[in-house]
């Protein structure tokens, strides 16, 4: 097992320390403290109640559904659900914040410590501590592009319920951070507490990043705000860590500050320094009573949870013999475990998983399509793997067939038949091709005889080429070895 990625600077190796604060929009029909709708894409200010606009005399009333979803998420994270929590006012002025304060949870969050296990491609696992999960209101949005002089305010988002999920600084490189965010998204989707849609802003992350010499005390951190895709998160963390290394190696100090990531230029820029940080003057919101949860309610919510990604992952490893990484990648997509189980009926699960993770996800990613819109069905992918397993086609041919399946949606059998790709199993035909190859390359034959047995592989390649890849590679290997060794003895 190898470790996390490090940055090698001019003066040596640097380790990253990363913590994430994820803001997940709670999947509810109405807002956290008002009855206004939460649907995405409405006309500006079409979903604003008197409470959201902070009209004088208006009072917040907690949305029970949002509380339930936060509790379910906490339970899914294996975290402690606090029987007593408090909503606080976080005070600051901004035109998108009508009340002049955000209702959040500061000293007493609804969910306490939990953890999330993240599997990496090299087989490494990282158990990331969850510090807390709390409920808070989202702010509205400023619109600056209507005309040159005025700004406009859209309060549709104002008051939408968010869960802020804060990790401990347990992540050690950008790939772990990306894997953590994907895993968390899968968990939220499985629980149904957030749709995980990053393009629509339902899920966004702030990353706290610092660098240090391996094993040294923590360095000064910077916070990168509002990262709205896994790719940007990873790139932002990497580029920010490299910036910090460069700053330190130039003999300067990293300043604690908030930064923004610019994806166009792939750089982070300072937004405000610690000195400018607000004093939010948190205090318990006197309009709301403390939130008290009964055991019965918590148990009812626990019973409402579906099979969670971690359990599915365990099952995929146990029942199908998948690698922890492949299993993790599958559970990161809500529909993927079902797809996998359908495709692997009667096949080697490990091979099917590998095909999904490597080829199918790769192609979908390139085409920018979700699994639900895959042109290759679970059945078709299963049939393709079946054709490999019964020797009809080789892995290499299968990749070509898959490419055509993805393009046309045709079944693997019809492609194999139409293009005559069926694998050559006939030993006479293979022997003939071998003889031709040996006769045409006396030099290489000589090398083999002189003991350079590596040339065997080269001859396999020649035979495969001569048969346009259709010869059974295992058969070619065996026949060739037999022929060369017999030849050598004679």
């Amino acid at each position: 097992m190898t470790g996390a990625r490090t940055i090698v600077g001019a003066t040596g190796e640097w380790e990253l320390v990363i913590g994430l604060e994820v803001h997940a929009q709670v999947a509810t029909r109405s807002k956290l403290f008002s009855g206004a709708a939460t649907e995405f894409g409405a006309e500006p200010n079409a979903q604003v109640s008197l409470v959201d606009a902070a009209m004088p005399g208006m009072l917040p009333v907690i949305n029970r559904a949002a509380v339930d979803q936060a509790v379910r998420t906490g339970l899914a994270l294996g975290a402690e659900v606090n029987r007593f929590s408090v909503f606080d006012r976080k005070n600051y002025f901004y035109p998108d914040l009508p009340q002049g304060y955000q209702i959040s949870q500061y000293r007493h969050p609804i969910v306490g410590a939990g953890e999330l296990r993240v599997d990496m491609p090299d087989g490494r696992a990282r158990v990331v501590g969850i510090e807390r999960l709390h409920l808070e209101q989202d702010a509205g949005k400023l619109v600056h592009d209507r005309n040159a002089t005025d700004s406009h305010v859209d309060l549709n988002r104002a008051g939408i319920p968010l869960m802020e999920i804060v990790s401990r600084p347990d992540l050690r490189d950008w790939e772990e951070a990306g894997a953590y965010l994907r895993k968390l998204r899968a968990l939220l989707r499985a629980v149904g507490s957030c749709d995980g849609n990053m393009e629509q802003g339902s899920l966004r992350a702030d990353a706290n990043v610092s660098v240090r010499r391996p094993g040294a005390p923590l360095g000064t951190r910077c916070e990168i705000k509002n990262l709205n895709s896994v790719r940007f998160l990873m790139r932002a963390i990497e580029v920010e860590a490299r910036r910090q290394v460069a700053v330190i190696e130039a003999g300067e100090a990293v300043h604690q500050e908030t930064r923004l990531y610019d994806p166009q230029r792939n750089e982070t820029r300072a937004m405000r320094s610690k000195e400018d940080a607000h004093d939010y003057r948190y205090f318990p919101d006197p309009d709301l009573l403390p939130l008290c949860l009964s055991e019965a309610r918590i148990e009812r919510l626990r019973d409402s949870l579906p099979e969670l990604p971690e359990a599915i992952r365990e099952r995929l490893i146990g029942e199908y013999g998948l690698t922890p990484y492949d299993a993790s990648v599958l559970v990161a997509e809500p529909d993927a475990p079902g797809f996998f189980e359908a495709a692997s009926q009667g096949r080697n699960g490990k091979r099917v998983a590998n095909w999904i993770v490597t080829n199918l996800f790769g192609a979908l990613n390139e085409a920018g399509r979700p699994l639900a819109e895959s042109p290759v069905s679970a059945e078709a992918l299963g049939q393709l793997v079946g054709l490999i397993e019964d020797g009809t086609i080789s892995d290499r041919i299968a990749r070509d067939v898959f490419g055509e399946m993805f393009q046309t949606g045709a079944s693997p059998q019809s492609i194999v038949e139409a293009r005559g790709l069926r694998q050559i199993q006939d030993t006479d035909a293979i022997d003939a091709a071998i003889d031709t190859a040996l006769a045409a390359n006396p030099g290489q034959l000589e090398q083999y005889r002189a003991g350079k047995t590596k040339v065997l592989g080269w001859f396999v390649g020649q035979v495969m080429k001569a048969t346009r890849g259709q010869a059974n590679p295992a058969l070619v290997n065996a026949r060739l070895r037999q022929k060369l060794d017999a030849d050598g003895a004679g």
Binding site: P56, F283, L289
Partner: protein
């Protein structure tokens, strides 16, 4: 046809209307005329005569159809802190210039649903911050007890306009709000009954917030029975106010019957201040004697943390106010000053829109909540609040109600204390403890001092035991006998 209908109380007027002795139109016209005659008091800031006339005609029609509701045709003046649909609502502040709510407060809506008629929005200290009605953007209110040949006296505050207009016999009842004494102290200064219900008894929805954990709506009337009648119709659980109590409202009218034989009345030792004027101390002694004569059991009790109540109040209330008033930013409603950018807009709007006392309290509130001071001020004040509530709980194990003076003096001249905020704050010394503990309390006009100015006595009851409180208040009222009308009344 000039009548004395405007001098009728709620119960008497209801009886006259029911008997057909007068119409709602006549009653309302009499009150409109009386309010016009009392215009010099500056007690009413928004005249609603026209809509009241229309409502009175509807009330008479309903009565003719035998559909009269309990308060059908009774005019009620409402403090300008209650949002009234279609009627300007300013909370005594320039910052709400031009604000016309599209909604009615729950308490107001309940009154109108019971048949009452809005007649006048009354003057008040800006955002209810004051004890003399001198911080209003509409200018000070003249106490109707002001001597014709002497200085204009304050009516108390913050519900100064409501107290003055009821005292002037220009409306049978008015609504006020009480945060630290804002109903009881002006009631005492103006010689009327002022009732602050238990915190949570009446909904705060639609009432412009000053200090959310203390604000409570209540009636100002000229009799205990009328106060009970109004409370009966404004009390009750409101799902739109999370802090309103989901408890049944007792039948308060029947609670007024019966005597106080055996009622245990406590006299808190800590309220016997050395600085108490002789007239106030004498009146208190008279009150004790009246209760004793009526068969009540008098005993001394101790509320040891009383001396910390005023400082704790002047930390908690400004803290909450500093956040509650953040929404007045000029962005969505009310006054907006022009600014270069959002920060400039806020600064100008708030500096020009808020008066000096409001700005002072916002700054105090911001200070006590700020990092490094929170524990020493806000948290400590909340701890004091708990101790004060415990003091009352202990006392109420021994007694049923507490008897104290309402205010440490009678009405003082306008301008006498405006330069000394602390001297002004001391007006609340006897009313603030019950506010901090959330207890119901009532001020009863109990006599006149040497200058022939009214003085009130305060009764404090157990939480949600308004029934016993009103019973004791009715007994005290009967013992006091007839209280003269002010010279400045209609």
């Amino acid at each position: 046809m000039p009548s004395d209908l405007h001098r009728l109380g709620v119960a008497e007027a209801t009886a006259r209307l029911a008997a057909g002795d007068c119409s709602a139109v006549e009653l309302v016209e009499a009150c409109i005329a009386a309010q016009e005659a009392a215009a010099g008091l500056n007690a009413v800031v928004t005249d609603t005569a026209e809509q009241a006339r229309t409502a009175a005609r509807h009330a008479d029609q309903r009565r003719q159809r035998n559909e009269a509701r309990p308060l059908e045709g009774i005019p009620v003046a409402v403090k300008d802190i209650f949002c009234t649909r279609g009627v300007a609502t300013t909370a005594g502040s320039r910052i709400l210039d031009g604000f016309v709510p599209a909604y009615e407060s729950t308490v107001g809506a309940k009154l109108w649903d019971a048949g009452a008629i809005l007649l006048g929005k009354t003057n008040m200290d800006e955002f209810a911050m004051g004890s003399s009605n001198e911080t209003s953007r509409w200018g000070p209110v003249r106490n109707p007890w002001s001597p014709a040949d002497g200085p204009a006296l304050v009516p108390g505050g913050s519900s100064g306009g409501s107290a003055a207009i009821v005292a002037a016999r220009a409306v049978p009842a008015a609504l006020g709000t009480d945060t630290g004494g804002s109903i009881r102290q002006p009631a005492s200064f103006c010689g009327v009954v002022g009732l602050k219900p238990t915190y949570g008894r009446c909904s705060r929805w639609g009432i412009i917030a000053f200090a959310s954990s203390l604000d409570q709506a209540g009636p100002l009337t000229r009799s205990v029975a009328d106060a009970a009648l109004i409370l009966q119709h404004i009390a009750g659980f409101d799902p739109k106010d999370s802090t309103s109590a989901d408890l049944p409202v007792p039948d308060l009218h029947s609670a007024l019957q019966g005597d106080v034989k055996g009622l245990r009345v406590g006299i808190p030792a800590e309220y016997r201040l050395d600085t108490l004027p002789v007239a106030v101390g004498d009146l208190w002694e008279r009150g004790i004697a009246w209760f004793r004569a009526a068969g009540a059991e008098l005993s001394d009790v101790s509320l040891p943390h009383t001396r910390y109540a005023l400082p704790a109040y002047y930390i908690v209330a400004p803290a909450e106010a500093s956040a509650n008033l953040a929404r007045y930013d000029g962005v969505r409603f009310g006054r907006r000053s022009t600014g270069e950018d959002p920060d400039d807009l806020y600064t100008r709007t708030r500096r020009e829109g808020f008066g000096e006392e409001v700005r002072r309290r916002i700054m105090i509130g911001g200070y006590v909540l700020s990092e490094g001071y929170y524990d020493a001020y806000y948290l400590r004040a909340q701890q004091v609040r708990t101790r004060i509530a415990e003091d009352f709980q202990a006392a109420f194990r021994e007694v049923d109600v507490l008897l104290t003076p309402t205010a440490p003096s009678s009405a003082f001249p306008q301008g006498a204390k405006t330069d000394d905020p602390l001297a002004m704050y001391v007006n609340d010394i006897f009313t603030v403890p019950a506010s901090l503990a959330g207890l119901p309390a009532i001020s009863i006009p109990a006599g006149l001092d040497d200058e022939r100015l009214p003085l009130g006595l305060q009764l404090i009851g157990r939480a949600f035991d308004e029934a016993t409180l009103l019973q004791a208040a009715a007994a005290l009222e009967a013992a006091v006998g007839t209280v003269p009308s002010p010279a400045g009344s209609a």
